[in-house]
Symmetry: C3
Subunit: 346 residues, 3 copies
C-alpha cells in the first residue's frame, strides 16, 4: 500500500514568498448551489432569492449569495495551503469584485506573501493572497488569510521572516460595487424590513434573535459542496473525542443568514475586513448572532450606501455579554467575530 500518489499538502518548509499556486478543481456554479445554500442556511435576502427583485435593482438576474463564491473559492485552497494547518489565524482585505451567477466557472490561485517560523521550530505562519477568477479571466474575489502550518521536517531551516502589511479594513473607497446596482426604486416590503441606511447608527447593536441547532449531516453537506477537503470536518475517528470540527465558513454563513432579522436590507457583502473563529463549533451547538454598526459610507451607485458591520456568532447562550474577557481572550461561547462591509439602500 502506498500513499505516494496522494496529495500530502504543503508543509511550512515547502512555501516560499512570491510562490504562486494554481489550485484544483475549477467549479461551475449552478442553481443547485443556490438551493442547497437556502436549505442549509436560513437566508431570506431578496437579492439572491428573486430574479424579479434583482432586476428591479439593476442586475441581470438574481446573483448567488456572495458567500457561495467565497466558500467555493476558499475550498480550492485547502488541499494546498491548509491541509497541514494547525489553525486558521485570520482574514484581511477580502473583496467581492463582482456578483456570481449560475453558469460561472471559478478557479483560484494563491500567492505566498509572508512567512514566519514559530520559535518552537515545529511550525510557522504562512500569509497568502488568493484570487478567484471566472473562466473569462475576470477577478471575482480576492482575500488574504494567514494560517499556522506544521513543518514535516523540523530540521528544515527557518526562512527569512516576511510579514506583510495589511490594511485593518478595506477602505470604503475601494469597495467594488456591482455594475448596474441601483437601489433608488428599492422595494422595502418585498425585502422584508423598512430600515434604511439612515436608520442605522454607528455603535448600534442588533440582536438577530433566532437560534439554529446544527446537525452533522448539514455541515458536512455544506463543506463537501464547497469541495473543502479538510479531514477534521468529515471523519469522526480523526479526533479522540469522536467529534467532527465544523468548517468555520459554515458558522459565517449561519451568522450572515440569521442577520436577516434586523439587517434584511444588507443585501450583499462586498468585503470582509477581518475575522476570527474564536472557538470551535460542533454538531449540537445552537448558534445565535448579533451585529454592531462600525462605520457608514456613501457609494457612487444610485441609492446604495455601505455599512461596516461587526457580525458575531455565539453558541448556546444568547445573553448579551462582551465577546472578550478582561484578559483579552474570547469568551468560551464565542464562535465568530467578523468584520464586513455590506450594501444597503439609502
Amino acid at each position: 500500500m502506498t500513499a505516494s500518489k496522494t496529495n500530502p499538502g504543503y508543509f511550512f518548509e515547502d512555501f516560499r514568498v512570491g510562490q504562486v499556486i494554481r489550485h484544483a478543481t475549477p467549479r461551475t456554479l449552478t442553481e443547485g448551489d443556490r438551493a442547497l445554500y437556502t436549505a442549509l442556511y436560513p437566508t431570506r435576502f431578496a437579492l439572491p432569492s428573486s430574479d424579479a427583485f434583482a432586476q428591479a435593482c439593476g442586475l441581470p438576474r438574481s446573483p448567488l449569495e456572495d458567500l457561495i463564491g467565497f466558500h467555493v473559492a476558499f475550498g480550492k485552497t485547502v488541499p494546498d495551503i491548509s491541509l497541514n494547518a494547525v489553525a486558521n489565524l485570520g482574514y484581511a482585505e477580502c473583496r467581492f469584485l463582482k456578483p456570481l451567477y449560475p453558469g460561472d466557472t471559478i478557479s483560484t490561485e494563491t500567492e505566498i506573501i509572508g512567512l514566519r517560523q514559530n520559535s518552537n521550530g515545529k511550525s510557522g505562519v504562512v500569509w497568502v493572497r488568493s484570487v478567484a477568477s471566472t473562466a473569462d479571466g475576470e477577478r471575482a474575489l480576492e482575500w488574504v488569510r494567514w494560517v499556522m502550518v506544521r513543518k514535516a521536517d523540523e530540521s528544515a531551516p527557518a526562512p527569512e521572516p516576511v510579514v506583510p502589511e495589511l490594511k485593518p479594513a478595506v477602505p470604503a473607497s475601494e469597495l467594488a460595487i456591482p455594475a448596474g446596482l441601483d437601489f433608488s426604486a428599492y422595494d422595502f416590503a418585498a425585502a422584508g424590513e423598512r430600515h434604511r441606511f439612515g436608520d442605522y447608527a454607528v455603535g448600534e447593536r442588533i440582536d438577530h434573535v433566532d437560534g439554529v441547532t446544527i446537525e452533522e449531516a448539514e455541515h458536512m453537506m455544506a463543506t463537501r459542496l464547497w469541495q473543502n477537503t479538510a479531514k477534521v470536518h468529515f471523519n469522526a475517528r480523526f479526533r479522540e473525542d469522536g467529534r467532527r470540527l465544523i468548517y468555520g465558513g459554515h458558522v459565517i454563513s449561519l451568522a450572515r443568514a440569521l442577520s436577516f432579522n434586523g439587517l434584511a436590507n444588507a443585501q450583499t457583502i462586498v468585503a470582509i475586513n477581518a475575522g476570527s473563529h474564536a472557538n470551535p463549533c460542533f454538531a449540537g451547538d445552537t448558534v445565535y448572532a448579533w451585529s454592531e454598526v462600525l462605520e457608514k459610507a456613501e457609494t457612487a451607485a444610485p441609492g446604495v450606501g455601505a455599512l461596516r458591520l461587526r457580525l458575531a456568532a455565539v453558541k448556546d447562550d444568547p445573553t448579551p455579554a462582551p465577546l472578550r474577557g478582561e484578559d483579552g481572550k474570547y469568551a468560551k461561547n464565542v464562535l465568530l467575530d467578523l468584520d464586513v462591509w455590506a450594501l444597503v439602500p439609502v
Copy 2:
C-alpha cells in the same frame, strides 16, 4: 443590545379584518428546489419527474411538485402571520391555479378575513386568505388558514368577532385544471401503475405500505428551503424537552410522496379542501400514510378525472385504526388528516 430592528411578528391585537399584508421575500424557483424535494421526500410521480412525460401530457415541460409552490408561498406568510401563533388550526379553499416551473418567481400577499378573541383574553383566532402570484402578476395559488395567535398586550380590547364562511370543500367545478393538460395518451407503464379513474371507488382505502423515519437534518433543510422561519423547527433549546417540532408541511409532503404506492397516477394536486395536523411530529418518528377516496368528478380536460382523497399520516404503528377515538379526538399516533383533490387519467 436592542431588538428594535428585528421582526416581532404580528400579535392578535395587531390584526384588522380587511388588512392586506405583502410578505417578504420574493423567491425564484429552480431545478435545485426540484432536486432537493426529490432528495427529501420519496416522490416518484412521473409528471414532476420527467420533461418527456410532461410533454406527452400537453405541458411545456415538467412542472415542479405542486407542494413546492405551496411550501414556498406558505413560508412567506410565517414571519407576519404565525410567528406568535400558538397553533395552526386549519386550512380551507386552497386551490393550485397553475403549474409552477423553474424560473418562476413567487410572492405572497395575505388578507385578514376573520378575527375572534378567545374567552381567556390571552389569544385569538385569525382567519387569513393568502394569494401567491408569479412575477407577471398571475395568481398561482390561494388558500385560507386560521391560526391561534397570542396577544402581546392582554389588555388590548377584543375586536368585533368576524368568522368567515368557508366551503367544506372546493367544488369540483372550481378546480383549476392546468392549461393544455391532456391524459388521453397517458403512458401507464412510465407512470408506474395501471389504475385509472374508473378503478377507484368512493369509500375505498389504499394503504401506502412504506414507512420513512425522519431525521433532524432533513426537516430543517426542507423548512429552510421554504424560507419558513418558525423558531420551533430549528432551535433545540426552544422547547424544554430539547426536541424540534417538525413543520407540518414536511409531513404533508412525506405523506403525499408515500401515496405514490397505490396512487401513482394521481399526478397533480389541484386543491386542499381541509387539513389538520393532529399531533406534533419529531425526528425519529416513522411516518406511514393511507388514502381514502371521498369523491370522484369528471373534468373538461381530455382524459383527465379528479379524485377527492383523504390523505392520512400516522406514526410508528401502521396498523389500520380509526383516526379518531369515540370521544372525537385524534388518536395519539395520527399526524395528518388532509382532504385534497388530485387529477388522474380516466
Copy 3:
C-alpha cells in the same frame, strides 16, 4: 384497508427468461442532481465539476458524474426487480455509453436473462440485463446484475434453470469513449494531480487516505434522489436492530469520490466489470477506500488511456489488509470490492 392497488414487486416465480419490463418513472436530470451529488460525496473530479475544463477536453459542457446516471437508472429497477430481494449478488458488463447532461431524461428497461431456483425452494437467483435510454431513444448505459429473490408461493414450480454466460470484464476494445473526448491539451494543474497513464503500473495500490463518517440523513437523501424505494434504507422500524441498511450504491459513490486523492485524473468511469457489496454499511461507519491497478489499455481517442481499477471500500480501520481471509470470505470491515474501467490522460 387494502393493499390491492400497491406494488407488491415481482417474486421469483413471477419472472420468465426473455421477459422485458419497462420501469417507472422517467426522470429528467438537472443541475440540482449535480449539486446534491457534490454535497453528498467528496468528489472533486474536474470533468464533472467545470464547464470550462470539460470544453477544453472536447465535450460540449460539464457532464454529470457517471454514477448519477447509474444510480438513477438502477433505482428505477428496484420496485420491480429487487423489492423482494434477499441479496444483491453481483454486477457485470456495465457500460457507460454516453455522458449525461442536465436536461437528459432517462428511462430504464430490463430483460430477464437467467433464472435458477435455490435448492431450499424458497427463493431463487434472477439475472437481469437493464438498459437506460435518453428520451431520443439513445442508449446511455447498460448493465447485468443478479439478485436472490424470495418466492411468494413456495409451491410454485421451479423454472428450467438458465444461467447466462457473462464476461469476467468488459474488454478494453468494447469501452464506449465519449464522442469528442480529447485529453491531448489536458490541464493537470486544474485537475489536481500530475500522474498520467504512464505513471500507473499494473499491480500498484493507491491508498486514498481520507475517511468519511456517514449520517442517516445523507444516505437517505441520496437514495431518495435516485428514486430507489427499497424499504430497508428508510424505515428504522424495518430491522429488529433499528438500523437502516445503506444503499450499496452510496458506498460506491463514496469510494469513487475518495479515490480523487491519488486518482484525480481518472476523470470518468466507462465500465463496471464486477462488484460485490461485501458487508452491510450503516450510519456511523467511517468509510475509507483504496485502489489497485488491474490492467491498462490504450484507446482511439486523442490523449486518452484506460485504467482498469479495483476500487475497495473498508470501514473504520484503514490499516492495509487482505480483503478476503484464508477461507476466501471477505473480512468483516470490507464494504465494497468493485472492478471498473476509467479514462485518464496519457
